[in-house]
Symmetry: C2
Subunit: 472 residues, 2 copies
Amino acid sequence: MPHDCSFLEDLGVGVSFEDADREEHSADWGTEGSDRAVVPDAVVRPESTAEVSAVLSAADERGVPVTAYAAGTSLEGNPVPAQGGISMDLMEMDAVLDVRPEDFQIDVQPGVMGSAVNEAVASEGLFFPPLPSSGDLSTIGGMIANSASGMQTVKYGEVGDWVLELEVVLADGSVIEAGSKAVKTSSGYDLKRLLIGSEGTLGVITRATLELAGRPQQIRGGRAIFPTLDDAAEAVADAVRSGVDVAKIELIDPTSAAIANEYLDTGLPDAPMTFLEFHADHGIEEEIDFCRAIFDAHGVQRFEMADQEEMDALWESRKELAFALRAYDDDLHPLHPGDITVPISRLPEIIRYAKDLEEEHGIMVPCFGHSGDGNVHYTVMVEKGDLESFERGEEIYRQVVEKAIEFGGTSTGEHGIGLGKRKYMTLEHGEAGVAAMRRIKDALDPNDTLNPGKIFPETTERDERATVEADD
Amino acid sequence: MPHDCSFLEDLGVGVSFEDADREEHSADWGTEGSDRAVVPDAVVRPESTAEVSAVLSAADERGVPVTAYAAGTSLEGNPVPAQGGISMDLMEMDAVLDVRPEDFQIDVQPGVMGSAVNEAVASEGLFFPPLPSSGDLSTIGGMIANSASGMQTVKYGEVGDWVLELEVVLADGSVIEAGSKAVKTSSGYDLKRLLIGSEGTLGVITRATLELAGRPQQIRGGRAIFPTLDDAAEAVADAVRSGVDVAKIELIDPTSAAIANEYLDTGLPDAPMTFLEFHADHGIEEEIDFCRAIFDAHGVQRFEMADQEEMDALWESRKELAFALRAYDDDLHPLHPGDITVPISRLPEIIRYAKDLEEEHGIMVPCFGHSGDGNVHYTVMVEKGDLESFERGEEIYRQVVEKAIEFGGTSTGEHGIGLGKRKYMTLEHGEAGVAAMRRIKDALDPNDTLNPGKIFPETTERDERATVEADD
């Protein structure tokens, strides 16, 4: 049953009830065209914090769900309006508000694209280091909401580590500032960190102060090719453990390389490899040599530094892998983007585990990702229209997640829980852990207004109602 | 009125009602001998998570406050049992549980001393980088609870940045694990970060998994002397902004130097200076030269690298400054340890502001601290027994805090709120921000069992009761 959203027309905030507009806000990259997409009853486009507050307070009073939406590049259905109501599109709030190069800081609205931050500060010799691979296509607000990270996290940390202060509108419309423009604070509860990664279930981010870094004087990239995937994974783990100061260290398995070649004509060798990038202000050659020595000990076959053009092609192919998986074979469907993360010593083991399942089931399971963090993106390529293949795919997918948790790792390193990972929450956090999160949700959003139906595994009252209605 | 704690005798947990024992748990370093000390009704010494849980669940049922206590080195009265009840001494839980050098990880109980972590992993070539200056004397549990940081935070980050996972007992006795042994996760709410710095008001930490770093191959230290304090502060701000990779950069004003000389016979020059340390795996001389060039531009008079022995003396004198302040003059009382932190560009201005107040009022205001983070420790030296001097001192103290907040900074960079900074909470976080924190506190600890009377500025019901009783 739709929610009555006619009250939006009296708020003076941009609102749309058009089908096409609502359709566009029904899914993210991860749920597009799937049965998990849900069309909202209305789309609002606030242009200021005051407008966000007005919508939230009015919706909260009326029991109408509000789900924030930005570029829609998330992968776990994070901004799907699972229980209908309002999709709050924040793309109009895309201003760079202030740049303070003297403090390495920038203030932005949530709809600013990741790449726009870099453009705004490039002339000052600064950059925003933790951008995800999708940084050209996704927004700062979305990255913060989903606690994103990227290829350079191995050196620079996650997006959340570079957020100093957030302005956030809570469910009841009240506005808080969390964090500080000082680089450290121990003043009260860390609401900023609680909000980062809460996927719009606790508040809507309306402004962020980000920290920046000086662009390194030296950048060198290249790739290394190994005899076996095991060697490659062991080499990565050993390099990280040995303290090699690497800015990117991405593992690509032969299955992924083959798929990238098909899609992009990249001509990658049919072999396990790592893509590398080093950043330094001086002494970069020493760092590269250090890495090479460790890779040598793991039988590296080729260790090649690239020129700028080759490097660009290399990273382009890495970035495009997610798209390549979709386009690879019309008969195959890539089953969710896996995002498990394990302690680095377990990296070789978890990859071996996934590849053993690939072999056992005869189903392609391309593995790649931010291996320096122990983060593996894996995809199970199931046969379209074949229920048995889907079921086995889901089983493989589940086994890898559970193995990662068994290893002390996590079901998601950077994509968030959304809809897709809800079922693993209790296994990962225990009942008491999930209950504590629930108590926080209930305290800050007692009417379950903000992005209901996400993160928590349990069936909520409104979930039930929605299910009953769907069955009617 | 004391709380009836006789139920503790039936729990099988070590308990003491001795006067001396209770006295010892009435204050921390910051409140020792002051009227803010409060003697608890009982001291318990749990030896396991199960015992912590048993005490909490029994106390929570009975409405008896429980305040965690470890080494007592905090400075804002953080572990003072402000409303009586139970002081939970965690010093018996001092085991190193596991070292996993292959993952740069260590699991410890809360009562493990900071220095013990370094000792446990030294043979592996590892160390715990963010230790506070009091690391030899304070515990990991206390550091995490107060979101501590230290001299090396400018390079390595805060204690909280090196905590991967926490086992925590909540007020009702339930046990949760927050965080992950993977280096990154975006799975659910970041309870770990919420608990870090919550000063024992949301839960009691019973185990921590810490991340470690490889010890740098090269370490060099030294000091730089400037014509004016302004030059020194500008030089620090400029060095940090320019991306000098410095591991410690501590500012010491002439007042502090004079006090250190008196206490330690350190023979520091009567001049503004910075103490420095550089860590690198290679190319340390280039980094030192980089720093020297920037300091030259700010008129540095001497820039001297020291040998190991001189360095040890240097850092010893820096560490002892807090003690030196107390011992300096029997007629003077050091008024609270200031801990404001500002965006780095405001560092020179906030120091100038404090020194102008020193001059204006003719009251010594020594300033020193982790200047690379914009963190200034300042102390107002008031005359003992002189109420007017105390009042002016408090006024100076307050003005500096308010100026820091006006600059976008924080009332506390690393000491926490405790009792001492409660009055600035609303100014710093706004009413909505404090209200959001309060809602979280009420959700996780509805009976206000854990360390009541801390962090929040408002008078709680039990505060009122305590006041009325004290007046009786």
